[in-house]
Amino acid sequence: MTQPRLLVRNLSCGRGERALFHDLDFELRGGEAARVRGENGCGKTTLLRTLAGLQAPHAGTVHWQSATPARDGEPVLLQDDLCFVGHENALNGALTPSENLDVLMRLAARRVSVRAIRQVLAELGLDRVAERPCERLSAGQKRRVSLARLWLSEAPLWLLDEPASALDVESRAVLCARIDAHVAGGGIVVFTTHEELTLTHTRVRAIELTPC
């Protein structure tokens, strides 16, 4: 497989009609991580959603790998190369963590055994709550269940929107170690965060968003 590469040219995004930022350029290759910076409401989540292909940019292009570049202002869908952990956890409250993860992995077209899911949940210290409905978990536990996808996925590109929200110090360290390992293995991570994430082995580039 070729080295993963995410190329963003002249990207302008917004919510509806309202423009949020203009002419963003950056390039990330396998083994690089980037943190999106900017004040509240400047479009960090919008940028991640645009990179994921959930919404169309106002102008500009997102290229992934050597795939044919999308036309100007069109969303690209990265599909099986992408693991997107959004603002919401994508967990249904009436299902248990393992049931939720099982469906999420099938949606990502990954066949993961129940044993593998159990193992990851145990690694994250969630084995005691693995069979409890998600609505009875704490905010931090739910976030950890949602992040468990990072251990199960094999996607080269991770887009993480506030991955560390509601996490305690130990879980944050575990998350950082996982991001380090992914980047060391040639993956790409783009994330936003308010909490400081100390990545020991990864040099994190900054993508500054300046409101227009």
Partner: protein, 222 residues
């Protein structure tokens, strides 16, 4: 590709089972609408038999409208919908699985409850098989068409009224042929024509509605 269909179907059926209280509410609503109607018409049994096709179908339409609002809403709110859209699997197939699970957990229950209700209204027993067949063919179409409306109104905070304005006109063909089949059956006439048309509408719905639902879901997420 089919594995995602079964996975989503299983998930939604499991959810319907875990939240079966909701299902009971919808069924009770359906039963109450039909049961309250005779209280207003008086004791003339012939009137009840005459209006029973319209009554049953209106009750089904209202119950469908009520239950459809929850079809994509939880997934939209908890972020699962984003994962559906980002999935490498076809979104239309995921949408079809969701509607199938929805129908199994609500439409099919209405079909099961209908014989008791029509007999309660004094409809002759020989009409019951056709009535069940018409509901069996008609209710999935209601689910498929309604799902397009729900998907379109997903990003609006209070979508209930708009949803009914959007989808009720589209329910007209199902209402006409569904009630038509029931009327014919009650009168002892052949109802096959109306049933065939209901079947044709269902085939059209299964093949085209998922594509429209998928497009509507993508618009709602933007």
């Amino acid at each position: 590709m089919l594995s995602v269909f079964w996975a989503v179907l299983r998930r939604d059926l499991l959810l319907a089972f875990r939240q079966r209280g909701v299902l009971v509410h919808h069924l009770l609503f359906f039963v109450l609408v039909v049961a309250l109607f005779p209280l207003g018409t008086g004791a003339d049994a012939r009137i009840l038999v005459t209006v029973s096709p319209a009554l049953i179908w209106m009750a089904v339409l209202l119950a469908a409208l009520l239950s459809l609002q929850r079809l994509f809403r939880p997934d939209y709110e908890d972020g699962t919908l984003e994962q559906y859209v980002l999935s490498p699997e076809p979104l239309a197939l995921i949408a079809l699985a969701k509607v199938a699970a929805y129908w199994l957990a609500s439409g099919l229950v209405f079909v099961m409850a209908s014989p008791l209700l029509v007999l309660l209204l004094g409809v002759p027993a020989h009409a019951v098989p056709v009535i069940m067949a018409s509901l069996l063919l008609g209710t999935p179409t209601l689910g498929l068409v309604g799902a397009i409306g729900t998907a379109l109104t997903l990003s609006l905070p209070r979508a209930g009224l708009l949803l009914s304005l959007l989808i009720f006109p589209l329910y007209v063909p199902v209402l006409i042929f569904g009630a038509g089949a029931m009327r014919a059956a009650i009168a002892g006439l052949p109802a096959a024509g109306a049933l065939y048309l209901l079947g044709a509408l269902l085939a059209l719905g299964i093949t085209t509605a998922p594509i429209a639902i998928a497009a509507a879901l993508k618009i709602s997420l933007e």
